[in-house]
């Protein structure tokens, strides 16, 4: 559905009053998001995850590289057709509190875009209303209860469902979810993730999932691909569980080591890796971008920047000169090793 080939994006660097240095947000990112598939991007703050999402939604332009939506190169299209194509990619933001206009009711939030859609499809007013009800039902909101309410009366989880319903009004092929559960109450998070899953299976919507939360990525797209971004470069990617269970790149290993262990339910992994230094985004080394923080760096890491190469399993690739697989994530304790609950 979406194919990215060598996307690069650099911000700033015009010198100017503050003498800003250019910041490479994306350095030649390739990925393929198949129809109905899921691709998850993980990484630290400032790794380029959000920029990637914004590019996919047409909010940023690439500096170089190609972005193909449904096989068509966006850059080759005239503005009008590009906008029409990008309508098939909809974004679900992190903050459902600011993504909704507080002066519009749920009905208005949905019916405005639906009215446009009705014109395109040559449908009448009845269709708009029935579709609004249908979409609310689809995202798990009760239409009878919700339609006349204003967003401030809804909980965070309900708002995020409404934002997803609004994204669905234009029948998108792709949903870009940028930290879509970060601001949702914990008891409601899994409900949103389950909804994304359901949209994948029932409507065939592809999901590009941008997150800090690797376990959430695993829930939405266990059958999909996981991409690890570091300072704009994909340092490792592969099938979700392959990357989680045998990460090759030390940066991936550091990210996965940082996940808190559910003591009593999980057993910590034998090996843990932590970066030996903080992120210094101003430093632009000729070699591996992670070498200055890497606990395993060797002398040659500072000389040349490694590109993606194949790991053992098919489709699992990493960009490390001295890869060593490590099992760093906690494993669940066997159910019979745990005491049963109270009667």
């Amino acid at each position: 559905m979406i194919e990215a080939r060598g996307i690069t994006k650099t911000f700033g660097g015009r010198g100017g009053l503050l003498g800003t240095q250019p910041v490479a947000a994306l350095r030649g990112v390739d990925f393929v998001l198949p129809s109905g598939g899921a691709v998850s991007f993980i990484g630290e703050s400032g790794c380029g995850k959000t920029t990637l999402g914004r590019i996919l939604c047409g909010m940023e332009q690439v500096d170089s590289g190609q972005l193909l939506v449904g096989g068509t190169d966006l850059a080759r299209l005239p503005q009008r057709e590009r906008a029409a194509l990008l309508r098939r990619v909809q974004m679900v933001h992190q903050d459902p509190y600011s993504a909704l206009n507080p002066t519009r009711t749920v009905r208005q939030v949905l019916e405005d875009p639906l009215a446009l859609r009705a014109r395109q499809l040559r449908r009448g007013r009845d269709w708009v209303e029935s579709r609004a009800v249908e979409l609310l039902g689809l995202v798990g909101l009760d239409p009878a209860y919700c339609l006349s309410l204003y967003p401030h009366t809804l909980s965070g989880g309900m708002r995020q469902r409404l934002v997803i319903a609004r994204a669905l009004t234009v029948d998108p092929d792709v949903l870009v979810a940028d930290e879509a559960i970060a601001m949702i109450d914990v008891s409601l998070r899994l409900g949103i993730l389950a909804l994304l899953r359901q949209l994948r299976s029932e409507l065939g919507v592809s999901v590009l999932f941008i997150t800090h939360d690797v376990a959430a990525a695993r829930y939405v797209g266990a059958d999909g691909q996981l991409y690890v971004l570091y300072r704009g470069q994909v340092v490792e990617h592969g099938p979700v569980d392959a990357v989680i269970s045998s990460p090759m790149h030390p940066y991936t290993q550091c990210l996965l080591s940082a996940i808190p262990v559910l003591r009593g339910l999980e057993e910590p992994a034998a090996e843990q890796l932590m970066p030996i230094a903080g992120l210094d985004a101003g430093h632009e080394p000729p070699g591996c971008l992670f070498a200055d923080r890497c606990p395993n760096a060797e002398d040659d890491c500072a000389l040349s920047r490694p590109t993606l190469r194949d790991a053992k399993e098919p489709g699992h690739r990493h960009a490390c000169l001295h890869p060593r697989p490590r099992q760093v994530v906690a494993v669940p304790l066997a159910p019979d090793a745990r005491p049963s609950g109270p009667p």
Partner: protein, 368 residues
Amino acid sequence: MRTNSASLSSPTATTAQSVTVPGEVPGAEIRGLKVVFQTPAGPMPAVNDVDLDLPLGTITGLVGESGSGKSTLALAMMNAVPKPGHIAAGSIRLPSVTDMTRLQGKALRLARGTALGYVFQASQNSLNPLKRIGAQLLDLGRAHGMEDKGALLRHARELCERMGLDPVRTLSAYQHELSGGMRQRVGIVFALILNPSVLVLDEPTTALDMISQRTVLDIIRYVQRERHLATLIITHDIAIVADLADYLVVMYGGRVVEKGPTRHVLQRAAHPYTEGLIAAIPRISGDIDRAQPLPGRPPDLLSIPRQGCVFRERCAFAIDQCSVQTPGLMPVRVTRRHDALEEDSALLDGQVAACHVRAPAPSAKVST
């Protein structure tokens, strides 16, 4: 890293073991705390009838969603509940303060920071953007009548080093020059500079990415051990404290619905809410489809039931009694005990839950 921290947990346990009852070295004791907000619809309790012990040398994780009253409880510990709220009942004893709720004016101002250190949720918002970090620390010392500036700065530098911050650079920096993780660590320096024995952290890792979160959690564990503090970590995410806290306290709708040793609460959650919260965590390994969403939505201040169990509307096990009688915290009975737990079960027992079905009062006969 992990094995290291696991071995470090034993000194805490042995200290507590030597006194047999963990509550005997009280850091903070909260009794019958009730915080009420005056609203147009009448007084609304945001925190209701909360008893909480924070023993010295332990970390307690307070878990709750928005509207659970967890942040109000933390502010009440500083006697800093914002209007239109006020502490309606209860007492808060700290090692050097008989009752925080009775302090006023200068005495209250001096107690904040010296008796209890507080790390705010968004440290970037609690730091002055126009002053260097070091200058703000000196302000703090001056406000608490510390004469010896040199000693204060020495202590600050030492604390910075402990937290992996470059002391010279950090103290001469403005807050915008620091990353989110560094600001959070500076927040901890501020909270500890006056040597309190109780440390309260409100959502210390919200908005931090995975690696910064891990760094901050490791630091909390580290200073806790070094200073033998009574630490309270307030969070909405049970996974954050699952690795770190000795005790878990789960709040819902202004009430404590379950508390006990972390390991026990996680393994055999008795309250249906705790159980649902744990079941709703997607796991990093194992069968991902085991994760189950928790139905319903958390209550807000206006929709908290006044009578009966606060969770009953989302509860699959609710019985008639739940809408009539408010359940009290009752000991959770264990049917079977896992061998690996034997060593610390005597010390860490004491899991209680407020549920008519799962932890019935001894006299009550409940049929489900």
